[in-house]
Each structure stands twice: as C-alpha cells, then as structure tokens.
Symmetry: C2
Subunit: 136 residues, 2 copies
C-alpha cells in the first residue's frame, strides 16, 4: 500500500492540531478566519466519493466534530464546510468559522486577498483551546 | 413535527431534479457551471452537525452519489462540494462541476458575477441525463 504524504502546499500553509481516526487536522496560518483543514490519510484521493464507504462515514463524523468544536470555541455565526481541490488535488476538507463583517463576508474565503499570519501567542492559544475541546 | 418548506431564494434560483431519501436535489439556473444543490428535508437546520447521526450518514451518501453522477455526466475536472449558508440559512449542500478555464477557475463559484440562464432545451436535456444516471 502506498504511503500517505501530506501535500507540500498544505504542509506549508497550515500547522498540525491533532490526528483523528482518519484525518490530519490542521490550522491554516491565516488569522482573518479561524480555519481548519481535515486531510484524510489516504494516498491518491481527490474526491470524497473515491473513499471507501467506511472512510466516508469517518470523514463525515470527524468533519462534523471539528465543525461543532470550531463553533463552540469561536462563537462563530456560521460554519463553512467545503471540499474544492481545484488547486491542491490531495483530498482535503475546509472547516471555517465565519462572522458577520469578517473578511469577504458573506462571500467565500477561498482565493480572497492574502493570508495574515497569527502571532505565535495567538496561534498557540487557539490550538490549545481546539485540542482541549476536541478531546472532550 | 414542524413541516419542511423550501427557502424562497433556493426555490427561485433552482429547479427540481429529484427527491432522494433525505434531500431535495435541485439544479441551479446558471449555465456557467453544472451546479446541483441538496437540501435535507429537515426544518430549522443550518449546520450539518445539527442533523441526527443517521441523517448525517444519509447526507454523506446522497452527496457522494450526486457528486459522482455529476462527474460522470459532465466529465468535470474537479467536483466542488460546499455547505456555506452565510446568506441562505436553510441547510443546503452545493455540488458543482468545475473545468479548467471555467468562470472564476480555480476560484470558488459563490458570489462570482451573475447567473446566466440555460435555454429550456439545454436545461431539460441536462436534467434528463442527471435523472437517468442518478437512477442507475
């Protein structure tokens, strides 16, 4: 079986939060929106429907858990979930906390402007909160 | 139990393709991209994680089936799947066929430009193909 390796662009643009049953869960290095990405640890998949039925169920429950936790931790108005992959073809699912008046609200986040880095303190604090709430 | 009614904006912007176990499946009236929307027939839901576990599994398999059929029927380069709901709060999942060089490629479709209507002939032909392939 081919080994799973994380896409270079995903690796560069995000930082690890946790590993779930199926996925690497990572935080995007962009403080404009609290933005997580789940990457199923399965090589050579681009579309959700290419996963096995069991993996699709795992991905659903892991995505829903991450989305629910992100809403709890941030108090977001709305969670946006998306699997696009037009640029990075390795299968990945975005989970983004949106707030009225945030950057490009109510439009989508993808392709909008430039990433703004977190301070180390803010990023570490957010990751700690996410890990704690994900483990509950 | 409260009755399910389709959001006015979704009803206006799309046309019915089929009804699955959980969802209304509708085609957006926008010929720039072959674009389907699944609306779970559950009242008062905005987030996928608010559905029951069984409904979440149904939504996953129905979304994956629709995505796979849309890829087969259109020959798309990539399928985009998203649940945003920043404007229309009734829970709905977008499934969009994307092609290199299409409108706003590789950016997202949401909020980009203005919808361009299909001719009646083109819309009916696409719906017929989708229904036939969905029933297989």
């Amino acid at each position: 079986m081919k080994e799973f390796t994380l896409d270079d662009r995903l690796a560069n643009d995000s930082v690890s939060v946790t590993i779930t049953g199926l996925c690497d869960v990572r935080l995007m290095k962009d403080r404009r929106w609290p933005w997580l990405v789940l990457i199923p640890r399965r090589p050579d998949k681009s579309e959700v429907f290419e996963l096995t039925p069991l993996d699709r169920i795992l991905l659903t429950f892991e995505t829903d858990k991450v989305a629910s936790v992100l809403k709890t931790v941030t108090g977001a108005t709305k969670i946006n979930v998306g699997a696009l992959g037009n640029i990075v073809r390795q299968l990945h699912v975005h989970v983004i906390a949106r707030f009225e008046g945030d950057a490009n609200w109510p439009g989508p986040v993808w392709g909008y402007g430039k990433a703004e880095p977190y301070s180390d303190e803010d990023m570490n604090s957010l990751i700690a909160k996410l890990r704690e709430t994900l483990s509950q």
